[in-house]
Protein backbone atom coordinates (compact mmCIF):
# COMPACT_ATOMS: atom_id res chain seq x y z
CA UNK A 1 0.00 0.00 0.00
CA UNK A 2 2.65 2.48 1.14
CA UNK A 3 4.93 1.27 -1.66
CA UNK A 4 2.25 1.98 -4.27
CA UNK A 5 1.75 5.38 -2.72
CA UNK A 6 5.48 6.12 -2.82
CA UNK A 7 5.81 5.07 -6.48
CA UNK A 8 2.75 7.08 -7.47
CA UNK A 9 4.04 10.07 -5.54
CA UNK A 10 7.43 9.83 -7.31
CA UNK A 11 5.69 9.45 -10.68
CA UNK A 12 3.74 12.63 -9.99
CA UNK A 13 7.05 14.52 -9.77
CA UNK A 14 8.66 12.59 -12.62
CA UNK A 15 10.97 15.32 -13.99
CA UNK A 16 12.58 16.28 -10.66
CA UNK A 17 12.88 12.64 -9.63
CA UNK A 18 14.44 11.63 -12.98
CA UNK A 19 17.04 14.39 -12.67
CA UNK A 20 17.93 13.22 -9.17
CA UNK A 21 18.16 9.62 -10.37
CA UNK A 22 20.37 10.70 -13.25
CA UNK A 23 22.72 12.59 -10.92
CA UNK A 24 23.04 9.56 -8.63
CA UNK A 25 23.41 7.17 -11.57
CA UNK A 26 26.25 9.20 -13.13
CA UNK A 27 28.08 9.53 -9.83
CA UNK A 28 27.73 5.80 -9.16
CA UNK A 29 28.95 4.97 -12.68
CA UNK A 30 31.93 7.27 -12.19
CA UNK A 31 32.81 5.73 -8.85
CA UNK A 32 32.50 2.14 -10.12
CA UNK A 33 34.41 3.09 -13.28
CA UNK A 34 37.31 4.53 -11.33
CA UNK A 35 37.34 1.43 -9.16
CA UNK A 36 37.37 -0.72 -12.30
CA UNK A 37 40.25 1.21 -13.87
CA UNK A 38 42.12 1.09 -10.60
CA UNK A 39 41.89 -2.67 -10.18
CA UNK A 40 42.48 -3.16 -13.91
CA UNK A 41 45.61 -1.01 -13.85
CA UNK A 42 46.91 -2.74 -10.75
CA UNK A 43 46.23 -6.14 -12.26
CA UNK A 44 47.83 -5.47 -15.62
CA UNK A 45 50.73 -3.87 -13.78
CA UNK A 46 51.31 -6.96 -11.65
CA UNK A 47 50.86 -9.15 -14.73
CA UNK A 48 53.81 -7.55 -16.53
CA UNK A 49 56.23 -10.21 -15.42
CA UNK A 50 55.69 -13.59 -13.86
CA UNK A 51 57.68 -16.78 -13.58
CA UNK A 52 60.96 -14.89 -13.04
CA UNK A 53 62.43 -15.46 -9.59
CA UNK A 54 65.08 -12.75 -9.58
CA UNK A 55 66.11 -9.80 -11.74
CA UNK A 56 69.80 -9.01 -11.57
CA UNK A 57 71.33 -5.66 -12.49
CA UNK A 58 73.92 -3.17 -11.38
CA UNK A 59 73.45 -2.01 -7.82
CA UNK A 60 70.90 0.79 -7.71
CA UNK A 61 67.37 0.63 -6.34
CA UNK A 62 64.87 -2.17 -6.74
CA UNK A 63 62.30 0.11 -8.38
CA UNK A 64 64.84 1.56 -10.79
CA UNK A 65 66.10 -1.87 -11.80
CA UNK A 66 62.54 -3.02 -12.38
CA UNK A 67 61.73 0.10 -14.39
CA UNK A 68 64.58 -0.20 -16.84
CA UNK A 69 64.74 -3.98 -17.11
CA UNK A 70 61.02 -4.71 -17.38
CA UNK A 71 59.23 -1.45 -18.18
CA UNK A 72 62.07 -0.01 -20.30
CA UNK A 73 61.72 3.31 -18.51
CA UNK A 74 64.89 5.18 -17.67
CA UNK A 75 68.40 3.85 -17.99
CA UNK A 76 70.73 1.57 -16.15
CA UNK A 77 73.26 3.21 -13.86
CA UNK A 78 75.79 0.59 -14.87
CA UNK A 79 76.13 -2.63 -16.77
CA UNK A 80 76.99 -6.10 -15.56
CA UNK A 81 80.23 -7.57 -16.81
CA UNK A 82 79.99 -10.80 -18.76
CA UNK A 83 82.23 -12.48 -16.16
CA UNK A 84 79.80 -11.72 -13.36
CA UNK A 85 76.93 -12.88 -15.53
CA UNK A 86 78.77 -16.16 -16.14
CA UNK A 87 79.49 -16.55 -12.42
CA UNK A 88 75.80 -16.25 -11.63
CA UNK A 89 74.78 -18.50 -14.51
CA UNK A 90 77.19 -21.20 -13.26
CA UNK A 91 75.71 -21.32 -9.79
CA UNK A 92 73.93 -24.60 -9.05
CA UNK A 93 70.70 -22.91 -7.88
CA UNK A 94 70.17 -21.26 -11.26
CA UNK A 95 67.76 -23.12 -13.50
CA UNK A 96 67.83 -20.61 -16.34
CA UNK A 97 69.19 -17.12 -16.88
CA UNK A 98 68.31 -14.74 -19.68
CA UNK A 99 70.59 -11.77 -20.37
CA UNK A 100 69.15 -8.43 -21.49
CA UNK A 101 71.09 -5.70 -23.23
CA UNK A 102 69.42 -2.32 -23.64
CA UNK A 103 70.57 1.05 -24.92
CA UNK A 104 69.74 1.30 -28.62
CA UNK A 105 66.47 2.34 -30.11
CA UNK A 106 64.36 2.25 -33.24
CA UNK A 107 62.22 5.39 -33.65
CA UNK A 108 60.45 5.75 -30.31
CA UNK A 109 60.87 2.09 -29.40
CA UNK A 110 63.63 0.51 -27.36
CA UNK A 111 65.81 -2.22 -28.79
CA UNK A 112 66.56 -5.14 -26.51
CA UNK A 113 69.31 -7.66 -27.12
CA UNK A 114 68.68 -11.07 -25.58
CA UNK A 115 68.94 -14.77 -26.27
CA UNK A 116 66.27 -17.01 -27.76
CA UNK A 117 65.64 -18.29 -24.22
CA UNK A 118 63.87 -15.02 -23.51
CA UNK A 119 60.93 -16.31 -25.53
CA UNK A 120 60.85 -19.52 -23.48
CA UNK A 121 61.15 -17.97 -20.05
CA UNK A 122 59.59 -14.52 -20.15
CA UNK A 123 56.07 -14.98 -18.82
CA UNK A 124 53.27 -12.50 -18.26
CA UNK A 125 49.72 -12.60 -16.92
CA UNK A 126 50.11 -15.59 -14.57
CA UNK A 127 52.44 -17.66 -16.69
CA UNK A 128 51.40 -16.92 -20.28
CA UNK A 129 54.20 -17.25 -22.80
CA UNK A 130 55.01 -14.93 -25.65
CA UNK A 131 53.62 -16.08 -28.98
CA UNK A 132 54.25 -15.02 -32.54
CA UNK A 133 51.33 -13.70 -34.52
CA UNK A 134 53.38 -13.82 -37.71
CA UNK A 135 56.80 -15.03 -38.90
CA UNK A 136 59.48 -16.80 -36.89
CA UNK A 137 62.03 -16.12 -34.15
CA UNK A 138 65.44 -14.73 -34.99
CA UNK A 139 67.35 -17.16 -37.22
CA UNK A 140 70.06 -14.92 -38.61
CA UNK A 141 72.34 -12.50 -36.77
CA UNK A 142 70.49 -9.55 -38.32
CA UNK A 143 66.99 -10.82 -37.67
CA UNK A 144 64.66 -9.05 -35.29
CA UNK A 145 61.35 -9.86 -33.62
CA UNK A 146 59.13 -6.86 -32.91
CA UNK A 147 56.30 -6.29 -30.46
CA UNK A 148 52.70 -5.85 -31.59
CA UNK A 149 52.63 -2.09 -30.92
CA UNK A 150 55.84 -1.54 -32.89
CA UNK A 151 54.37 -3.34 -35.89
CA UNK A 152 51.05 -1.52 -35.65
CA UNK A 153 52.41 1.97 -35.05
CA UNK A 154 55.07 1.83 -37.75
CA UNK A 155 53.10 -0.37 -40.12
CA UNK A 156 55.73 -3.07 -40.35
CA UNK A 157 55.27 -6.59 -41.59
CA UNK A 158 57.54 -9.63 -41.72
CA UNK A 159 60.49 -9.20 -44.09
CA UNK A 160 60.72 -5.40 -43.79
CA UNK A 161 64.18 -3.96 -43.17
CA UNK A 162 64.70 -1.68 -40.16
CA UNK A 163 67.67 0.40 -39.05
CA UNK A 164 68.53 0.61 -35.37
CA UNK A 165 69.63 3.96 -33.94
CA UNK A 166 72.58 4.30 -31.64
CA UNK A 167 71.44 5.27 -28.16
CA UNK A 168 68.02 6.69 -27.37
CA UNK A 169 66.67 9.74 -29.20
CA UNK A 170 69.88 10.13 -31.19
CA UNK A 171 70.55 10.83 -34.84
CA UNK A 172 73.31 8.28 -35.26
CA UNK A 173 71.91 5.27 -37.07
CA UNK A 174 73.49 1.88 -37.48
CA UNK A 175 72.92 2.16 -41.23
CA UNK A 176 75.58 -0.31 -42.22
CA UNK A 177 73.84 -3.15 -40.49
CA UNK A 178 70.14 -3.06 -41.31
CA UNK A 179 67.95 -5.67 -39.63
CA UNK A 180 65.20 -7.72 -41.17
CA UNK A 181 61.94 -8.33 -39.31
CA UNK A 182 61.60 -12.07 -38.91
CA UNK A 183 58.59 -12.15 -36.61
CA UNK A 184 55.89 -10.11 -34.93
CA UNK A 185 54.69 -10.99 -31.44
CA UNK A 186 51.10 -11.27 -30.30
CA UNK A 187 49.84 -8.37 -28.22
CA UNK A 188 50.57 -8.93 -24.55
CA UNK A 189 49.62 -5.67 -22.82
CA UNK A 190 53.17 -5.53 -21.46
CA UNK A 191 56.19 -3.39 -22.41
CA UNK A 192 57.26 -6.21 -24.77
CA UNK A 193 54.67 -4.82 -27.20
CA UNK A 194 56.78 -1.72 -27.54
CA UNK A 195 60.14 -3.46 -27.88
CA UNK A 196 62.33 -4.42 -30.82
CA UNK A 197 64.06 -7.66 -29.88
CA UNK A 198 67.38 -8.65 -31.43
CA UNK A 199 69.97 -11.22 -30.43
CA UNK A 200 72.65 -10.36 -27.91
CA UNK A 201 75.30 -10.90 -30.59
CA UNK A 202 73.53 -8.44 -32.89
CA UNK A 203 73.99 -5.68 -30.32
CA UNK A 204 77.72 -6.38 -30.46
CA UNK A 205 77.64 -6.67 -34.25
CA UNK A 206 76.15 -3.23 -34.85
CA UNK A 207 78.82 -1.69 -32.64
CA UNK A 208 81.74 -3.37 -34.40
CA UNK A 209 82.81 -0.20 -36.20
CA UNK A 210 81.95 2.05 -33.30
CA UNK A 211 84.15 3.46 -30.62
CA UNK A 212 83.37 5.88 -27.81
CA UNK A 213 79.80 6.23 -28.95
CA UNK A 214 80.55 7.25 -32.53
CA UNK A 215 81.20 5.42 -35.76
CA UNK A 216 84.85 5.28 -36.79
CA UNK A 217 84.90 7.38 -39.98
CA UNK A 218 85.34 5.49 -43.19
CA UNK A 219 85.31 2.14 -41.49
CA UNK A 220 82.58 -0.30 -42.36
CA UNK A 221 82.83 -4.01 -41.83
CA UNK A 222 80.67 -5.99 -44.23
CA UNK A 223 77.97 -8.10 -42.54
CA UNK A 224 79.50 -11.34 -43.79
CA UNK A 225 82.79 -10.52 -42.04
CA UNK A 226 80.89 -9.61 -38.87
CA UNK A 227 79.14 -12.96 -38.96
CA UNK A 228 82.54 -14.65 -38.69
CA UNK A 229 83.63 -12.54 -35.72
CA UNK A 230 83.50 -13.51 -32.08
CA UNK A 231 80.51 -11.53 -30.88
CA UNK A 232 80.51 -12.48 -27.22
CA UNK A 233 79.33 -9.39 -25.37
CA UNK A 234 81.55 -7.79 -22.74
CA UNK A 235 78.66 -6.57 -20.68
CA UNK A 236 74.90 -6.84 -20.38
CA UNK A 237 72.34 -4.54 -18.78
CA UNK A 238 70.38 -6.98 -16.66
CA UNK A 239 69.45 -10.63 -16.39
CA UNK A 240 66.28 -12.51 -15.58
CA UNK A 241 66.89 -15.55 -13.41
CA UNK A 242 64.79 -18.63 -12.75
CA UNK A 243 65.70 -20.95 -9.89
CA UNK A 244 65.59 -24.70 -9.40
CA UNK A 245 63.61 -24.26 -6.20
CA UNK A 246 61.98 -21.19 -4.66
CA UNK A 247 63.55 -22.20 -1.35
CA UNK A 248 66.93 -21.04 -2.67
CA UNK A 249 65.75 -17.62 -3.76
CA UNK A 250 66.75 -15.65 -0.68
CA UNK A 251 70.14 -17.33 -0.41
CA UNK A 252 70.97 -16.59 -4.05
CA UNK A 253 69.64 -13.06 -3.71
CA UNK A 254 71.95 -12.49 -0.77
CA UNK A 255 74.90 -14.07 -2.58
CA UNK A 256 74.36 -11.76 -5.57
CA UNK A 257 73.85 -8.68 -3.41
CA UNK A 258 77.08 -9.44 -1.57
CA UNK A 259 79.00 -10.50 -4.67
CA UNK A 260 82.45 -9.10 -3.88
CA UNK A 261 83.80 -8.62 -7.42
CA UNK A 262 81.08 -6.29 -8.64
CA UNK A 263 78.30 -4.32 -6.97
CA UNK A 264 75.20 -6.15 -8.14
CA UNK A 265 71.57 -6.08 -7.12
CA UNK A 266 69.11 -8.94 -7.26
CA UNK A 267 65.44 -8.16 -6.75
CA UNK A 268 62.28 -10.20 -6.33
CA UNK A 269 60.05 -8.94 -9.17
CA UNK A 270 56.83 -9.25 -7.14
CA UNK A 271 58.20 -7.23 -4.24
CA UNK A 272 59.66 -4.56 -6.55
CA UNK A 273 56.31 -4.30 -8.34
CA UNK A 274 54.68 -3.76 -4.96
CA UNK A 275 57.21 -1.04 -4.11
CA UNK A 276 56.55 0.65 -7.44
CA UNK A 277 52.79 0.38 -7.02
CA UNK A 278 53.08 1.95 -3.57
CA UNK A 279 54.44 5.05 -5.33
CA UNK A 280 51.97 5.05 -8.23
CA UNK A 281 49.10 4.01 -5.97
CA UNK A 282 48.82 7.40 -4.24
CA UNK A 283 47.31 8.86 -7.41
CA UNK A 284 44.71 6.10 -7.68
CA UNK A 285 43.66 6.63 -4.07
CA UNK A 286 43.24 10.35 -4.75
CA UNK A 287 41.15 9.56 -7.82
CA UNK A 288 38.96 7.19 -5.83
CA UNK A 289 38.49 9.79 -3.11
CA UNK A 290 37.40 12.40 -5.66
CA UNK A 291 34.84 10.05 -7.22
CA UNK A 292 33.53 9.13 -3.76
CA UNK A 293 32.99 12.85 -3.15
CA UNK A 294 30.94 13.02 -6.36
CA UNK A 295 28.66 10.28 -4.99
CA UNK A 296 28.29 12.20 -1.73
CA UNK A 297 27.41 15.36 -3.67
CA UNK A 298 24.71 13.50 -5.62
CA UNK A 299 23.24 12.16 -2.37
CA UNK A 300 23.17 15.63 -0.86
CA UNK A 301 21.36 16.69 -4.02
CA UNK A 302 18.81 13.97 -3.24
CA UNK A 303 18.35 15.40 0.25
CA UNK A 304 17.90 18.91 -1.12
CA UNK A 305 15.22 17.69 -3.55
CA UNK A 306 13.26 16.05 -0.77
CA UNK A 307 13.52 19.16 1.40
CA UNK A 308 12.30 21.32 -1.46
CA UNK A 309 9.39 18.99 -2.09
CA UNK A 310 8.23 19.17 1.54
CA UNK A 311 6.83 22.69 1.19
CA UNK A 312 4.81 21.87 -1.90
CA UNK A 313 3.58 18.64 -0.32
CA UNK A 314 2.32 20.10 2.96
CA UNK A 315 -1.28 19.90 1.83
CA UNK A 316 -0.73 16.32 0.60
CA UNK A 317 0.71 15.32 3.95
CA UNK A 318 -2.19 16.94 5.79
CA UNK A 319 -4.66 14.96 3.67
CA UNK A 320 -2.85 11.70 4.47
CA UNK A 321 -3.11 12.60 8.14
CA UNK A 322 -6.83 13.36 7.85
CA UNK A 323 -7.32 9.98 6.16
CA UNK A 324 -5.80 8.27 9.19
CA UNK A 325 -2.11 8.05 8.36
CA UNK A 326 0.08 8.21 11.40
CA UNK A 327 3.04 10.66 11.52
CA UNK A 328 5.32 7.59 11.42
CA UNK A 329 3.69 6.55 8.13
CA UNK A 330 4.58 9.95 6.66
CA UNK A 331 8.13 9.44 7.91
CA UNK A 332 8.30 5.97 6.37
CA UNK A 333 6.84 7.18 3.10
CA UNK A 334 9.56 9.78 2.64
CA UNK A 335 12.35 7.34 3.54
CA UNK A 336 10.91 4.79 1.14
CA UNK A 337 10.78 7.36 -1.66
CA UNK A 338 14.43 8.26 -1.08
CA UNK A 339 15.46 4.59 -1.04
CA UNK A 340 13.60 4.00 -4.30
CA UNK A 341 15.34 6.97 -5.93
CA UNK A 342 18.77 5.88 -4.66
CA UNK A 343 18.17 2.28 -5.77
CA UNK A 344 17.07 3.41 -9.21
CA UNK A 345 20.17 5.61 -9.38
CA UNK A 346 22.40 2.71 -8.38
CA UNK A 347 20.88 0.37 -10.96
CA UNK A 348 21.07 2.94 -13.75
CA UNK A 349 24.64 3.69 -12.64
CA UNK A 350 25.52 0.05 -13.11
CA UNK A 351 23.87 0.06 -16.56
CA UNK A 352 25.79 3.23 -17.52
CA UNK A 353 29.02 1.61 -16.32
CA UNK A 354 28.66 -1.50 -18.47
CA UNK A 355 27.48 0.54 -21.41
CA UNK A 356 30.51 2.82 -21.04
CA UNK A 357 32.88 -0.09 -20.52
CA UNK A 358 31.73 -1.87 -23.65
CA UNK A 359 32.53 1.25 -25.67
CA UNK A 360 35.73 2.25 -23.87
CA UNK A 361 37.31 -1.16 -23.39
CA UNK A 362 38.85 -1.56 -26.86
CA UNK A 363 39.90 2.11 -26.93
CA UNK A 364 41.66 1.91 -23.57
CA UNK A 365 43.32 -1.34 -24.52
CA UNK A 366 44.64 0.12 -27.77
CA UNK A 367 45.79 3.43 -26.34
CA UNK A 368 47.07 2.48 -22.91
CA UNK A 369 47.61 -1.27 -23.12
CA UNK A 370 45.22 -1.58 -20.19
CA UNK A 371 42.73 -4.41 -20.37
CA UNK A 372 39.58 -3.79 -18.35
CA UNK A 373 37.76 -6.98 -17.62
CA UNK A 374 33.98 -6.82 -18.24
CA UNK A 375 32.86 -9.24 -15.55
CA UNK A 376 29.40 -9.43 -14.01
CA UNK A 377 29.19 -7.24 -10.90
CA UNK A 378 30.86 -9.01 -8.01
CA UNK A 379 30.49 -8.80 -4.26
CA UNK A 380 32.40 -5.56 -4.04
CA UNK A 381 30.17 -3.77 -6.55
CA UNK A 382 27.07 -5.11 -4.79
CA UNK A 383 28.45 -3.76 -1.53
CA UNK A 384 29.09 -0.33 -3.04
CA UNK A 385 25.56 -0.21 -4.51
CA UNK A 386 24.04 -1.27 -1.20
CA UNK A 387 26.06 1.44 0.52
CA UNK A 388 24.66 4.04 -1.90
CA UNK A 389 21.08 2.91 -1.20
CA UNK A 390 21.73 2.90 2.54
CA UNK A 391 23.29 6.36 2.31
CA UNK A 392 20.18 7.49 0.39
CA UNK A 393 18.03 6.30 3.29
CA UNK A 394 20.26 8.03 5.81
CA UNK A 395 20.32 11.42 4.06
CA UNK A 396 16.50 11.32 3.78
CA UNK A 397 16.10 10.92 7.54
CA UNK A 398 16.56 14.65 8.07
CA UNK A 399 13.79 15.81 5.68
CA UNK A 400 11.61 12.89 6.80
CA UNK A 401 11.92 13.98 10.44
CA UNK A 402 10.92 17.47 9.42
CA UNK A 403 7.86 16.12 7.60
CA UNK A 404 7.07 14.02 10.67
CA UNK A 405 7.11 17.12 12.89
CA UNK A 406 5.19 19.25 10.40
CA UNK A 407 2.51 16.63 10.01
CA UNK A 408 1.96 16.68 13.76
CA UNK A 409 1.66 20.46 13.88
CA UNK A 410 -0.07 21.26 10.64
CA UNK A 411 -3.82 21.23 10.43
CA UNK A 412 -5.85 20.71 7.34
CA UNK A 413 -5.67 24.40 6.62
CA UNK A 414 -2.57 25.65 4.92
CA UNK A 415 -1.72 28.98 6.42
CA UNK A 416 0.32 31.10 4.16
Amino acid sequence: MILRLAIASLAARAVTVCMTILAIALSVALFLGVEKVRTGAKGSFADTISGTDLIVGARSGSVQLLLYSVFRIGNATNNITWESYQDIADRPEVDWIVPISLGDSHRQFRVMGTTSEFFDHYKYRQGQSLALQEGALMGDLFDTVIGADVAETLGYSVGDPIVVSHGIASFADHKDQPFRISGILEKTGTPVDRTVIVSLEAIEAIHVDWQNGAQIPGQSTPPDVIRQMDLQPQAITAALVGLESPLQTFALQRAINQYPEEPLLAILPGVALQDLWAIVGVAETALLAVSAMVVVTALIGLMATIFASLTERRREMAIYRAMGARPSTIFGLLILEAVLVAAAGAIFGLIFLYFGLSIAQPLIDRNFGLWLDIAPPGGQEALILLAVVAAGAIVSILPALRAYKLSLADGMMVKT
Binding site: S50, D53, N75, A76, N78, N79, T81, S101, G103, Q126, H166, G167, I203, E204, H207, W210, Q211, N212, G213, P233, Q234, A235, I236, T237, S245, P246, L247, Q248, T249, F250, Q258, P260, E261, E262, P263, L268, P269, G270, V271, Q274, D275
Partner: protein, 220 residues
Protein backbone atom coordinates in the same frame (compact mmCIF):
# COMPACT_ATOMS: atom_id res chain seq x y z
CA UNK B 1 74.72 2.19 -21.98
CA UNK B 2 76.84 0.89 -24.79
CA UNK B 3 78.81 -2.21 -24.05
CA UNK B 4 81.94 -0.60 -25.48
CA UNK B 5 81.71 2.36 -23.15
CA UNK B 6 80.95 0.29 -20.12
CA UNK B 7 83.96 -1.88 -20.80
CA UNK B 8 86.18 1.18 -20.63
CA UNK B 9 84.46 2.27 -17.48
CA UNK B 10 85.02 -1.14 -16.02
CA UNK B 11 88.73 -1.07 -16.82
CA UNK B 12 89.00 2.29 -15.10
CA UNK B 13 87.32 0.93 -11.99
CA UNK B 14 89.15 -2.36 -11.78
CA UNK B 15 92.24 -1.17 -9.85
CA UNK B 16 90.01 0.18 -7.13
CA UNK B 17 88.18 -3.12 -6.87
CA UNK B 18 91.46 -4.95 -6.45
CA UNK B 19 91.94 -3.23 -3.11
CA UNK B 20 88.91 -5.05 -1.77
CA UNK B 21 85.34 -3.92 -1.41
CA UNK B 22 84.05 -1.94 1.50
CA UNK B 23 80.41 -2.29 2.32
CA UNK B 24 78.17 -2.35 5.33
CA UNK B 25 74.64 -3.66 5.34
CA UNK B 26 71.75 -1.50 6.40
CA UNK B 27 70.83 -2.03 10.04
CA UNK B 28 67.71 -0.58 11.62
CA UNK B 29 66.99 -1.07 15.30
CA UNK B 30 63.48 -2.27 16.02
CA UNK B 31 63.04 -3.80 12.57
CA UNK B 32 63.56 -7.50 11.91
CA UNK B 33 63.44 -9.24 8.57
CA UNK B 34 61.66 -12.49 7.90
CA UNK B 35 61.95 -14.27 4.58
CA UNK B 36 59.62 -17.15 3.83
CA UNK B 37 59.78 -19.46 0.83
CA UNK B 38 57.20 -22.15 0.21
CA UNK B 39 57.77 -25.02 -2.19
CA UNK B 40 55.18 -27.77 -2.00
CA UNK B 41 55.09 -28.95 1.60
CA UNK B 42 58.51 -27.55 2.44
CA UNK B 43 58.63 -24.14 4.04
CA UNK B 44 61.92 -22.33 4.58
CA UNK B 45 62.18 -19.30 6.83
CA UNK B 46 65.11 -17.10 7.57
CA UNK B 47 65.02 -14.44 10.19
CA UNK B 48 67.34 -11.50 10.84
CA UNK B 49 66.99 -9.17 13.78
CA UNK B 50 69.28 -6.52 15.24
CA UNK B 51 70.90 -7.44 18.56
CA UNK B 52 69.19 -4.42 20.11
CA UNK B 53 65.78 -6.00 19.47
CA UNK B 54 66.65 -9.38 20.88
CA UNK B 55 68.97 -8.82 23.87
CA UNK B 56 68.82 -5.02 24.16
CA UNK B 57 72.52 -4.37 23.51
CA UNK B 58 74.90 -4.62 20.59
CA UNK B 59 78.27 -4.25 22.28
CA UNK B 60 80.42 -7.29 22.67
CA UNK B 61 79.27 -9.37 25.62
CA UNK B 62 81.08 -7.93 28.63
CA UNK B 63 80.10 -10.14 31.49
CA UNK B 64 78.40 -13.39 32.33
CA UNK B 65 75.02 -11.70 32.35
CA UNK B 66 75.40 -10.55 28.74
CA UNK B 67 76.65 -13.96 27.68
CA UNK B 68 73.72 -15.62 29.41
CA UNK B 69 71.32 -13.23 27.67
CA UNK B 70 72.79 -14.09 24.28
CA UNK B 71 72.70 -17.78 25.08
CA UNK B 72 69.06 -17.57 26.17
CA UNK B 73 68.15 -15.57 23.06
CA UNK B 74 69.75 -18.14 20.80
CA UNK B 75 67.80 -20.84 22.60
CA UNK B 76 64.54 -18.94 22.12
CA UNK B 77 65.30 -18.24 18.47
CA UNK B 78 65.91 -21.93 17.88
CA UNK B 79 62.27 -22.67 18.61
CA UNK B 80 60.45 -21.02 15.68
CA UNK B 81 56.94 -22.23 16.53
CA UNK B 82 57.03 -20.06 19.67
CA UNK B 83 57.91 -16.98 17.61
CA UNK B 84 56.02 -17.25 14.35
CA UNK B 85 52.98 -19.48 14.59
CA UNK B 86 51.44 -21.14 11.57
CA UNK B 87 47.76 -22.12 11.72
CA UNK B 88 47.17 -25.51 13.34
CA UNK B 89 45.45 -26.77 10.21
CA UNK B 90 48.67 -26.53 8.19
CA UNK B 91 50.17 -29.31 10.37
CA UNK B 92 53.68 -27.89 10.30
CA UNK B 93 56.58 -29.59 12.00
CA UNK B 94 60.07 -28.18 12.37
CA UNK B 95 62.62 -30.18 10.41
CA UNK B 96 65.58 -27.95 11.18
CA UNK B 97 66.28 -24.80 13.15
CA UNK B 98 69.45 -22.91 13.87
CA UNK B 99 70.31 -19.49 15.26
CA UNK B 100 73.52 -17.52 15.50
CA UNK B 101 74.84 -14.10 16.38
CA UNK B 102 76.83 -12.12 13.84
CA UNK B 103 78.74 -8.89 14.19
CA UNK B 104 78.70 -6.28 11.49
CA UNK B 105 81.87 -4.25 11.61
CA UNK B 106 83.79 -2.07 9.23
CA UNK B 107 86.77 -4.00 8.02
CA UNK B 108 88.70 -1.54 5.97
CA UNK B 109 91.42 -3.46 4.31
CA UNK B 110 90.51 -7.06 3.95
CA UNK B 111 91.41 -8.78 0.79
CA UNK B 112 88.67 -10.56 -1.12
CA UNK B 113 89.81 -13.89 0.29
CA UNK B 114 88.94 -12.86 3.80
CA UNK B 115 85.42 -11.95 2.75
CA UNK B 116 84.69 -15.49 1.76
CA UNK B 117 85.56 -16.62 5.21
CA UNK B 118 82.59 -15.60 7.32
CA UNK B 119 84.12 -16.86 10.55
CA UNK B 120 85.72 -13.50 11.22
CA UNK B 121 82.29 -11.91 11.43
CA UNK B 122 81.24 -13.95 14.41
CA UNK B 123 80.95 -12.07 17.61
CA UNK B 124 82.70 -14.60 19.77
CA UNK B 125 85.73 -14.85 17.53
CA UNK B 126 86.82 -11.41 18.62
CA UNK B 127 87.50 -12.36 22.17
CA UNK B 128 91.19 -11.82 21.65
CA UNK B 129 90.78 -8.11 21.06
CA UNK B 130 89.95 -7.34 24.60
CA UNK B 131 92.51 -8.42 27.15
CA UNK B 132 90.01 -8.27 30.00
CA UNK B 133 87.99 -11.19 28.78
CA UNK B 134 90.29 -14.10 29.07
CA UNK B 135 87.47 -16.39 29.98
CA UNK B 136 86.16 -16.34 26.42
CA UNK B 137 89.54 -16.99 24.90
CA UNK B 138 88.85 -20.51 23.86
CA UNK B 139 89.27 -19.89 20.16
CA UNK B 140 92.13 -20.37 17.83
CA UNK B 141 93.58 -16.90 17.49
CA UNK B 142 96.31 -17.58 15.03
CA UNK B 143 94.10 -17.46 11.99
CA UNK B 144 92.85 -14.08 13.09
CA UNK B 145 96.21 -12.67 14.09
CA UNK B 146 95.99 -10.13 11.29
CA UNK B 147 93.01 -8.54 12.99
CA UNK B 148 94.98 -7.39 15.97
CA UNK B 149 96.04 -4.09 14.49
CA UNK B 150 92.43 -3.01 13.97
CA UNK B 151 90.78 -0.67 16.29
CA UNK B 152 87.52 -2.29 17.21
CA UNK B 153 85.60 0.50 18.79
CA UNK B 154 82.68 -1.17 20.47
CA UNK B 155 80.21 1.57 19.56
CA UNK B 156 80.94 1.07 15.88
CA UNK B 157 79.85 -2.54 15.82
CA UNK B 158 76.36 -3.81 15.20
CA UNK B 159 75.23 -7.29 15.98
CA UNK B 160 72.54 -9.25 14.27
CA UNK B 161 70.84 -12.46 15.16
CA UNK B 162 70.29 -14.78 12.25
CA UNK B 163 68.08 -17.82 12.34
CA UNK B 164 67.14 -20.35 9.72
CA UNK B 165 64.25 -22.76 9.89
CA UNK B 166 62.78 -25.49 7.78
CA UNK B 167 59.29 -26.82 8.22
CA UNK B 168 57.36 -29.61 6.72
CA UNK B 169 53.72 -28.67 6.40
CA UNK B 170 51.35 -31.51 5.54
CA UNK B 171 48.65 -29.09 4.45
CA UNK B 172 50.36 -26.06 2.86
CA UNK B 173 47.02 -24.68 1.63
CA UNK B 174 46.24 -23.77 5.23
CA UNK B 175 49.25 -21.46 5.53
CA UNK B 176 46.98 -18.45 5.35
CA UNK B 177 48.25 -16.50 8.31
CA UNK B 178 51.21 -16.12 10.57
CA UNK B 179 50.96 -14.91 14.15
CA UNK B 180 53.94 -13.05 15.52
CA UNK B 181 54.22 -14.14 19.14
CA UNK B 182 57.77 -12.92 18.51
CA UNK B 183 56.65 -9.47 19.71
CA UNK B 184 55.56 -10.92 23.04
CA UNK B 185 58.87 -12.64 23.53
CA UNK B 186 61.12 -9.72 22.59
CA UNK B 187 59.99 -6.38 24.01
CA UNK B 188 62.33 -4.22 21.93
CA UNK B 189 61.10 -5.51 18.58
CA UNK B 190 58.71 -3.11 16.88
CA UNK B 191 58.33 -4.30 13.32
CA UNK B 192 59.14 -7.21 11.04
CA UNK B 193 59.48 -6.85 7.28
CA UNK B 194 58.22 -10.04 5.70
CA UNK B 195 58.97 -11.27 2.21
CA UNK B 196 57.23 -14.40 1.06
CA UNK B 197 57.70 -16.49 -2.05
CA UNK B 198 54.93 -18.83 -3.11
CA UNK B 199 54.06 -20.55 -6.35
CA UNK B 200 52.37 -17.33 -7.49
CA UNK B 201 55.41 -15.13 -6.94
CA UNK B 202 56.96 -12.91 -4.32
CA UNK B 203 55.26 -10.35 -2.14
CA UNK B 204 56.19 -8.21 0.82
CA UNK B 205 54.39 -7.26 4.02
CA UNK B 206 55.09 -5.30 7.17
CA UNK B 207 53.98 -6.57 10.53
CA UNK B 208 53.94 -4.23 13.49
CA UNK B 209 53.69 -4.77 17.20
CA UNK B 210 50.13 -3.34 17.29
CA UNK B 211 48.80 -5.90 14.82
CA UNK B 212 50.92 -9.01 15.24
CA UNK B 213 49.00 -11.25 12.83
CA UNK B 214 49.82 -11.39 9.14
CA UNK B 215 47.15 -12.38 6.66
CA UNK B 216 48.91 -14.27 3.89
CA UNK B 217 45.90 -15.09 1.74
CA UNK B 218 46.87 -12.46 -0.86
CA UNK B 219 50.31 -14.06 -1.27
CA UNK B 220 48.96 -17.27 -2.78
Amino acid sequence: MKPAISLLALLAVSPALADGTREVDAHVHGVGKLNIAIDGTTVAKEFHAPGADIVGFEYKAENDEDLAAIEAALQTLSDPLNLFGWPEAAECTVTSASAELETEEEHDDHGDDDHDDHDHDKEDDHGDHDEDHDEEDNHDHDEHADHDDHDHAEEASHTEFHAEYRFDCANPDALTELSFTYFDVFDNALEVEVQIITASGASAFEVERDAPTLDLSSAF
